[in-house]
Symmetry: C2
Subunit: 108 residues, 2 copies
Amino acid sequence: MARFEKHVLICENHRDPSDKRGCCAAKGSAQILDKFKGRMKELGLTYKMRANKSGCLDACEHGAVVLVYPEQVWYGNVKAEDVEEIIQSHLINNKPVERLKIKKKKFL
Amino acid sequence: MARFEKHVLICENHRDPSDKRGCCAAKGSAQILDKFKGRMKELGLTYKMRANKSGCLDACEHGAVVLVYPEQVWYGNVKAEDVEEIIQSHLINNKPVERLKIKKKKFL
């Protein structure tokens, strides 16, 4: 059995505000990471799941970006208030949150 | 098709040298990350694969740690000189490098 049943990566890349690409750090990724870590601990999930910050996931226009393995589900425009739904639906009940998925073909 | 055929995470967590747990940053993770990124670019792999730094993967005693998705293969005690083998064998030819795998059951 794999060590982590679910592994959540939250892009925390930071760019200068003058950079047109934007970045996930400017779109609340630190709060999203904190909320994942806090709630997963409260819910007793951390023995089999983990949330980590990551370097740039190259999906800047969709930030803040959250990526869930092993399924490689890509979520875009994620806000801190979406975290509970991702945890309850996807991590616990194995049902990815369709409304938050990035819709572009290459991300499906 | 998933966006990334292979996704390599390199733990870059840093702890104070007085911390007995050690950390991957003190075991060369920055050089490992650089080498993955550089070689994957040179080899034309970056359109379908990616290497990223990550926060602490909670395998500190095995550092430097490299984790490859979607298979969730855990490599431990990785050195910069091991990167080419991981790329050629695992990323390109889909054969994980057995000698570098962390052997503990929970990582298999």
